[in-house]
Subunit: 397 residues, 2 copies
């Protein structure tokens, strides 16, 4: 049977690629410290489960295609508090930030189009873009420069007649980089100057560690036609399993096109929308505590990483990821070896090898993404295992 040429170009998730090796290692009795996936261990606010328990309607009916009013209201108020005003009709509820991304990309990308994305980037962007018949055109960065990409010349150099949009994850996954207000302004200006969409995947908005106020591309009301904001409750409230996100834009035509997709898939899960609305009542003390916890974790991991000879790693300012270059020939081979041959007192460690985070062939081969989603003591032990592993691996390879 013949398959779509578009889907054939896509690959599986690099975060899940080593799952079979992990299962085999665990079968041998190994204890694995998982730094490979962005699943936080922070408790979901009780408000979510309370709302679900109090749902009393006898029929679990379809929600409206653009989302339930109670949730749209809650999100509108959340943005109002951040001094960004959106009309209710400018907020479309989606199955997580992932579906919001899929919808906006399907609406704006045609066969042969290009979208500019700084690399390294979240690997699922590849599947989302390739299935539109388009390709990711990377904005190059380097570990030595802390993966900095917000440079006007650097970006404009990559724009051509096929470019339709610029997309960035801010705060960054996998790099943890955070744009300054001036850099955001510049990116928006570039988009306006070249008549491009600028898509901000802002799933990690609350996760910034230098005391800076929460920022968003949504602030640039002068670029109403260009700006698209992708948001989600997944990381903000440690509610990844809710699959509730949203697509926000002031571009009326984009909203009209996106509605076609929203209607074709009918609606987002009803209970999860009701419960997600309740999450928005969580107070600022919740975020302050979560932020403190992640900051401590980041500091631990960065300190330990920088102590390992040959590791290149600048301290990231946000999200809960660190991208680092390791002194190994190939992070993929190294990860496989860590699961198949290495152990220290029965323990080993898992991260996400860096190559699939790049569009440029060969780049990222000695890099890894580390998700610091474990408790303090576990992170320390995991970094110890990484240091030991690098030493042993290089002795035997």
């Amino acid at each position: 049977m013949k398959f779509s040429g578009k889907v054939e170009k896509c690959g599986l998730s690099p975060m899940r690629k080593f799952h079979p090796y992990a299962v085999a290692a665990e079968a041998k009795g190994r204890n694995i410290y998982h730094l490979n996936i962005g699943q936080p261990d922070i408790e979901t606010p009780k408000a979510y489960f309370d709302a679900v328990r109090h749902f009393e309607l006898p029929v679990l009916a379809y929600a409206p295609s653009p989302g339930m009013p109670v949730l749209i209201d809650a999100i509108q108020k959340y943005y109002d508090k951040l001094n960004m005003h959106f009309e209710k009709s400018e907020i479309l509820i989606t199955n997580g930030g992932s579906e919001a991304l899929q919808i906006v990309l399907q609406c704006i990308l045609d066969d042969g189009d290009e979208i500019l994305i700084p690399e390294p980037f979240y690997p699922n962007y590849n599947t989302m873009v390739l299935t539109c018949g388009a390709v990711i055109h990377p904005i190059p960065t380097s570990p030595e420069e802390g993966y900095h990409y917000a440079d006007r010349q650097k970006i404009e150099r990559e724009i051509n007649e096929h470019t339709r949009a610029i997309m960035c994850t801010n705060p960054g996954n996998p790099t943890g980089s955070v744009l300054t207000p001036e850099e955001m302004r510049m990116m928006v200006d570039v988009a306006k100057a070249h008549d491009l969409f600028i898509i901000g995947d802002e799933a990690y908005r609350e996760f910034v560690y230098a005391g800076e106020p929460l920022q968003s591309l949504g602030e640039f009301a002068d670029a109403a036609e260009n700006v698209v904001v992708i948001d989600t409750v997944s990381k903000r409230f440690s509610a990844c399993g809710a699959r509730v996100g949203c697509l926000i834009t002031r571009n009326k035509e984009l909203l009209a096109q996106a509605m076609k997709y929203c209607q074709a898939r009918l609606s987002v899960a009803t209970l999860d929308q009701v419960a997600s609305a309740a999450l928005y009542d969580v107070g600022p003390e919740y975020f302050a505590a979560v932020r403190d916890e992640y900051k401590r974790r980041r500091d631990t991991v960065v300190k330990k990483l920088q102590e390992i000879p040959g590791v290149i790693c600048k301290c990231p300012k946000g999200a809960f990821y660190i991208m680092a270059a390791l002194p190994v020939d190939n992070a993929d081979t190294f990860q496989k070896w860590l699961l198949e041959e290495f152990e220290d007192k029965g323990d080993t460690v898992m991260f996400a090898p860096g190559e699939p985070f790049y569009a440029t062939p060969g780049k990222g081969r000695n890099e890894v993404r580390i998700a610091y989603v474990l408790k303090q003591a576990d992170l320390e032990r995991a970094m110890e295992l990484l240091a030991l592993g690098i030493k042993k691996y290089n002795e035997t390879h």
Copy 2:
């Protein structure tokens, strides 16, 4: 800004098109009988809400991309009881049947490809197919023949070098038609002979009213490479708002391609999967009661419809829809008139005009889809309003 040529070809849902007119009519104090959408009024089994209330994990985490084992197990057992065996790896959990359809179509359709679908068909198929760059090639039917499409010659006549798949909703939406076992065998044979996928959207499997055993394309294990079954808890358990469905196939390559999409959107909502698994413990007495209720409703609507002079309507055998040709010039104009000008004791009625259910231009113009999802007495009143409306409309047009 430029948009994707594919999304520009799509339209909005015809079921939701008259929503603004309905809002205006209600503002004038009109009471509307809604027969336009397939939202059942049957209560969702308590098991769903009980499972949700008993969820005790502190973190609402991502579910595995292919689905949660507890739900996959429940679905596997449900099929085993129907004498169809699928491996767990052959069942992928999706965001409703809608996402299962989107995934399979994205996997198999390329630009310029065609998919054969009997018309009238579920209008969202249009968006799903057009966004793949493909088109629906209709298998023609007529109201006079009860929308019968399962005729080998009729189907083979439409197959050409661009055809990639045959898709049917069985029991049918919007027609309520049900394939006989012999017809299903024939359709599968056609797919095998022409090396095509055959996709069965079987959302309404339980809704058959002549005492026949539940049937599925999944029974044809000899066509393992060809058959894809789309399933959902939406209608089976009146749980449309759960957004839990599945894609089932024995075709290993299709499963591998589909997994790329599943991973790119991460997972389906966790709580809804746990709760949907609990639904599968509901006993056969639940289905028997629901089936009896819908059968009574169908009989009421058909009897009333056939009493209206000039209506063409054969009694459908399944689902909860009836497609009928009305003695009006244009069902769209008629619907608008019913909402804007007609009333009887303050009441009016809404259905889905037929044209958007067709791919052939001009077809279905005097047809409507009626969803019999209201209580007996309300259905009788709704049919009375339809009869009165037709009479008055034709006197004034």
